[in-house]
Symmetry: D2
């Protein structure tokens, strides 16, 4: 015989109590206790509304408020006992309220259902966290842009295919990172707005007969408007999926930054050095200094992708309206949010304390014929050769340099001029790294001046967003 749990609030029609194993499998309170603040705020708003439409009188309202506030205090102080048999945070708080204030507490659940209640709580959580993540993104961007401002003249090899391609400055590279983050900010913003609708007050799936004032609830709880359709309100988890996707993208971007930090920290690259405060050692190899933080940042994309797939899978082919399956929405969102928060925080610290080795960057830029494109462009401009041909001639000059084991900038003028008789001594100018970088003045280009403009634009954007 299965061990029985305590009698449930919904147990009127049941002849047997729940098995304890059921509680262990079914209960969400081990994780959804995190929603307590949102649940209490939702209940406060709901009780105001019940008072407004005449279901609670002023004394009852007062009594419920006192009860809820006391419960909030107990939870905050760690004095509240979350019990498995209460199933979820909603039942836990409702039970506690009834215990505290008696029969009046039993009126609170009028004109709502757990279905709309949990949708409300979770949306409030998601809205809150989006705002928090946006704030952290802005903070990280600010750190990156400050660093970028100091490095608009620091030449490094710009890479494609991880091969040296063209000379850029480090500031320009950081602007690229920032642009990724700016899209993350905007993506969160559109998720916020698309889902900023109040589900509370639709009951189980079909609305209620109490004439509840959902406009009032939306206003009180800070939503743009109530949802349009009751059944959709309890079935929809788009708001959670959108956040999971936004975080997957954010952590994908961060995995790219992290990969670069790992590479740049290698002995071979040596472009940066992570502060001892954010590096770790080895239990066996005494010389090791490991970039654990970027490595973990890189890895966190895994959880974020997995969390997204988890909920997408769970939602696949679910019939309407509410199904218990959707209870699986919370743990994955909590995990993604917490990973995103700490990732943004620690990456900011790492960047703030990062030592940039500009000399190593510049040395590296001297390898790999970085000015080859400039040479081809020179041939187009000065020798009036079509680009495709100029490209081919330059390729052959590179081949000669490779054979001699030097950079094209180290070939003699004679050697270079031997390839085409319109090449003049001014070709030397295009073979300078600095000139090459500063020549790229087209909109979005890497020239120091352009990079500064980009930084300025983004700082201005941040200022606007912050207001």
């Amino acid at each position: 015989m299965a061990q029985e749990s305590k009698q449930k609030l919904w147990g009127g029609r049941f002849s047997k109590g729940s098995a304890v194993l059921l509680d262990r499998f079914n209960a969400s309170i081990p994780f959804d206790y995190k929603l307590w603040k949102y649940d209490i705020n939702g209940s406060l708003a709901h009780s105001f509304m019940l008072h407004k439409i005449g279901i609670l009188d002023s004394d009852e309202l007062e009594s419920i408020h006192q009860g809820l506030k006391q419960i909030a205090l107990e939870i905050e102080n760690g004095e509240f006992e979350f019990k498995l048999e209460d199933e979820d945070i909603h039942m836990a708080i409702e039970s506690a309220l009834i215990n505290k204030i008696g029969d009046v507490g039993k009126k609170l659940h009028t004109a709502r259902s757990r279905n709309d209640q949990v949708a409300l709580d979770f949306r409030l959580y998601v809205k809150d966290k989006i705002k928090g993540l946006q704030g952290r993104i802005i903070e990280l961007m600010s750190v990156l842009l400050d660093l970028a401002s100091r490095h608009t003249e620091s030449i490094m090899p710009g890479m494609t295919h991880l091969q040296h391609a063209q000379p850029i400055n480090f500031g320009f590279h950081l602007v690229c990172w920032s642009e990724n983050l700016r899209r993350d900010f905007k993506r969160l913003q559109s998720s916020y707005e698309r889902n900023d609708y109040l589900p509370l007050g639709v009951g189980a799936l079909a609305g209620t007969p109490y004439g509840n004032d959902r406009e009032f609830l939306a206003k009180t709880l800070g939503f743009s408007a109530p949802t349009l359709n009751a059944m959709d309100s309890v079935s929809d988890r788009d708001f959670a999926l959108d956040l999971l996707y936004d975080i997957a993208m954010l952590l994908m971007h961060i995995s790219r930054f992290a990969e670069e930090l790992v590479l740049w920290s290698t002995c071979e690259f040596g472009f940066v050095s992570i502060s001892d405060s954010y590096a770790t050692g080895s239990s066996i190899m005494p010389q090791k200094k490991n970039p654990d933080v970027p490595e973990l940042l890189r890895a966190k994309s895994g959880r974020a992708y997995g969390n997204l797939i988890s909920l997408l899978t769970t939602m696949k082919a679910l019939p309407f309206a509410y199904n218990k399956d959707t209870q699986e929405d919370k743990e994955v969102v909590f995990n993604s949010v917490e990973n995103a928060e700490i990732s943004l925080e620690i990456l900011k610290e790492v960047m703030q304390t990062l030592k940039i080795n500009t000399r190593a960057m510049e040395q590296a830029a001297k390898k790999g014929h970085l000015c080859a494109t400039d040479l081809a462009d020179y041939l187009v401009r000065e020798a009036k050769i079509p680009f495709r041909e100029a490209h081919h001639i330059t390729g052959q000059i590179v081949a000669m340099a490779e054979e001699k084991g030097c950079d094209i900038s180290e070939l003699s003028l004679d050697e270079v001029m031997s390839f085409n008789d319109r090449i003049k001594v001014d070709v030397l100018e295009v073979l300078s790294l600095k000139n090459s970088m500063n020549a790229r003045t087209s909109l979005g280009g890497t020239a120091s001046k352009n990079t500064k403009d980009q930084i300025e634009y983004l700082k201005e954007w941040i200022k606007n967003v912050r207001n």
Copy 2:
């Protein structure tokens, strides 16, 4: 010795030709040929720009235009040969152009790179397809809302946990579906706007020294503005991922509709009957009529999720700027787009030809004590019992009915009244399915009148969106 392929346009520095196996592995032309129209449009705009900044004279411009248009014609007529050794659509068209118009053709690639070119082509494709998908969503919504309009009085059992819960009307259910689609529309819209930036003209990763006019290009090609940072422009695939996610969500929603169509078509439910034109038979069982279309629609979410994970995985931890890895972005996007397009189209047809069995729906609604919540609400309202207690009493009435093998509406008045002495004869009114449904008049509720309001609101929204 590996078999050699033809000499490449970029082969100046290479001492050996490409292996044929390399072409087979590396070439994207077996799929990216689909971008041909966007590639030619991009090149047309680019040549106008080159003319504007003095790199092409009017004759050269004219010659390039003639060449490109001829190529477009050949492709359209199926006369153009796509060859593996041309690697990709960009090289195929550039090669053909040079073949056709000679050396002038070699000037076209001035001030751009394949990196920004492919980013442009793919963004043009994505923008185009988003608009197309939005159109199809609107068409499907229109069909659903027309059907909904005809069924605002057709009672069916509203379900939670796939158990009968409360009476709703079929129109209300379809509004729920529509709301899912409306979010899909909005999600696509925000993806469109967030990514509506022109990458062309940033060169390989760092900008160009030609002073190319990217504002002009943006305007010509219909982008809101040029991208801010060159390196980001060639590394970013957010626009593709956003679309993959949008389609994953769309097909997730459709998998839910499809699951319901499958259920409703069963012998057990019998709520709907799919038109013979959109059903299939069995090779062995002569009596079978199978809902293949909803089943495949349900399954298509799989590909959409997989495509999303594919590109997310590919992008994980990629260093900047361009890497060959990103070539894997296209096939998955093409597949998701094509699946989404045909899914929307065929679902629209299925719904348009669907036979609704309203009698079966109503019969079903008579089972499962659908008015139990109304009874509890009655006790709250008339007997002044707190909801939690009213719920418990009703649960016991249900238990009695279950024991007798009938619905609570089939219990005698005496039996019902025996549970509480404030229950009066007017309790019968709340035990009517129609009354129960029409009592749910709160905003978003299922009452016929409310459902009509919701339909009206959505039709108005569509009208606005269409303009």
Copy 3:
């Protein structure tokens, strides 16, 4: 200035201490404490080995054993304090050991590294859990087969496309479920065997100079053999991925069983009734009895898929050998294992207490022309008509029955015989559900006798596996 954490055991070369934020981000002890028992067992074996090769003398060995056992006791009794600044369970136990027994404790880490230590602990965990899951699978299969034994004559509609197809018995259906579980068992077994290699003793990545006896370690710790290559031993996480996949498959199978339980519990199907002990109610609708357990079981596939994708993503493109990224392997494996364990356990309970409504099943089987294939087969056999044509004729008989609103078995003999003059009165025999079911006697068929054979075979298989 970042707040500093405590001095690390590996901190010799570091000029600054770790930031507290680093501990919070980096430490794995909040979850890897679960490995404590495996870590201690690994250390016990390692110390025996160190003694065997002369690095520890007998007193040192004894002292280390006492220390480790004491720590084990403290952890078991909840007296051991897990501290974030200890980073992971390995360092926590090593630190505690040094605290307890002094300098001798510092010798324990000779000839090993955290890299091989964590690989060992995690493999021991995985091996243990595989055995546990296999046991639970066998238990569930036993319950299913017992139930199947009692229902080899209980006719129900076999379905394809969720449409009635051919009559089967419920026992046969449960054998199908069991076969899925049997593959899960075998899949776990092959994962176990493929990964049953000891990583301990390979040091950081390259082996050690101490001449450690890894054969001895393998034997002591119950592995089939030591790993072949040191670098692989610390980089490989296949054993974890294999388990994640095995569980994804197991929970996918269970999601299919669960879907059927949800369907069968609906008002429309009514084939089964879940025990009140494993069902739940609604907070608002007093009549509801919800199949929460099957719904959650169905949903759990989501987490399992997500966990698999998480680690696959993390491992993508990781260079050799050990990287911190792999720390992300544990939480997802723990979650999948725990979900699988409780899912198997509760599904077993649900099935053991499930009420089977055989009358409803049989009633259902009477709808949907289940004997149509038999009729076609009759035409092949008796009227010598090729199957493809027999199929067509039967299709037309079905169409007539549909038009009349009855099952083909309810048509008059005259009506049936009107379609072909070789149809005789004995056609009635093939239109009986029981005859139809029992006619399917080919190997694997649904005839009661065959079903019993299948059950017998599986019971025998279980007996062999248990020994």
Copy 4:
């Protein structure tokens, strides 16, 4: 009015023909035509069996064989027209057969269904492809081991966290790669064996009444045995999922190798140089030589993961038995298989033509204090210091070297000895890279001798596997 397609073989009960749009959405022939050879082989075996049990006489058998063989020839020669309205390869071939040989052709489908037929064809494909992939894995391993044999003395820095850790040889590193592949081989093998069961002859889901001889079929078609349960046989797609997972793992491993090839090809590492035959250039930068092949190999893991998730998603919560959803199983398996095949092939070529720069590897090994662990081990051994303390002292020696900007091996003897008075002149021996490497002689270690043993072991294993 929807446009109508041609009359279907299963259309007896249908009053309207299929819509053309249905064919376009529903038909699998655009991809499952790839199964034609397996379908014909399956039908040949099935007809032998039908003859054996007396359903076909010898003339009929002969006629069917002639027809099928002719169809095979036509397909092979590209003369067979695959038409959308034939839906799938099974119907296409059956239709063609009936066209060719008349009514006898209509007998072929006796005692089977498309459900078992497609399961058979797809299993035959999967079995075939597994064998092919195993062969390619062995070929790649052979190339790696040959290369390894030539580099057991080539010192390079072994890395953890991408930081120099301990000296290893390049051969040892390649053995690590090989071990990954060996597990892939074994994983495929266990998938093969676990799924080596014949589904043919179970009919739609419940068996057949024809007494078909499935043992005979299994033997004829090369399966270990027939499946146990008919319903399972048509519902099960584990064999496809297992292969998708096996390939996801294989391509994950290859993504790790590829990442290393990309890194090693950088200007910064310079450890290897990819043959010009397998590298590519840039359309704009004439100097570029890009590792496109490793980059694409790295990216292919994305598709493999996505394909796995696709089918896992599709199978989630599918009720038994066959559903149309499972049609989505094929395209993803085809794609994964083809990617895996060409990836193995081209990686083999790249490795065979790879230039190894042993000088650069050895130069790199001189940086990063690679002998620090040896120094700590020396302190343990010679100075009898517990490892934990020896680690700390060595850390401080490293810190001194770092400050002086040199490797610890470049410190003066006096400087090293100043840290502990038991350090003697023989400490110099442990600071030699070669000595350090060759000291790691524990089983699995990197000492040249050990590496050779590992290579020998694997070559022997290959020899056994090939037989």
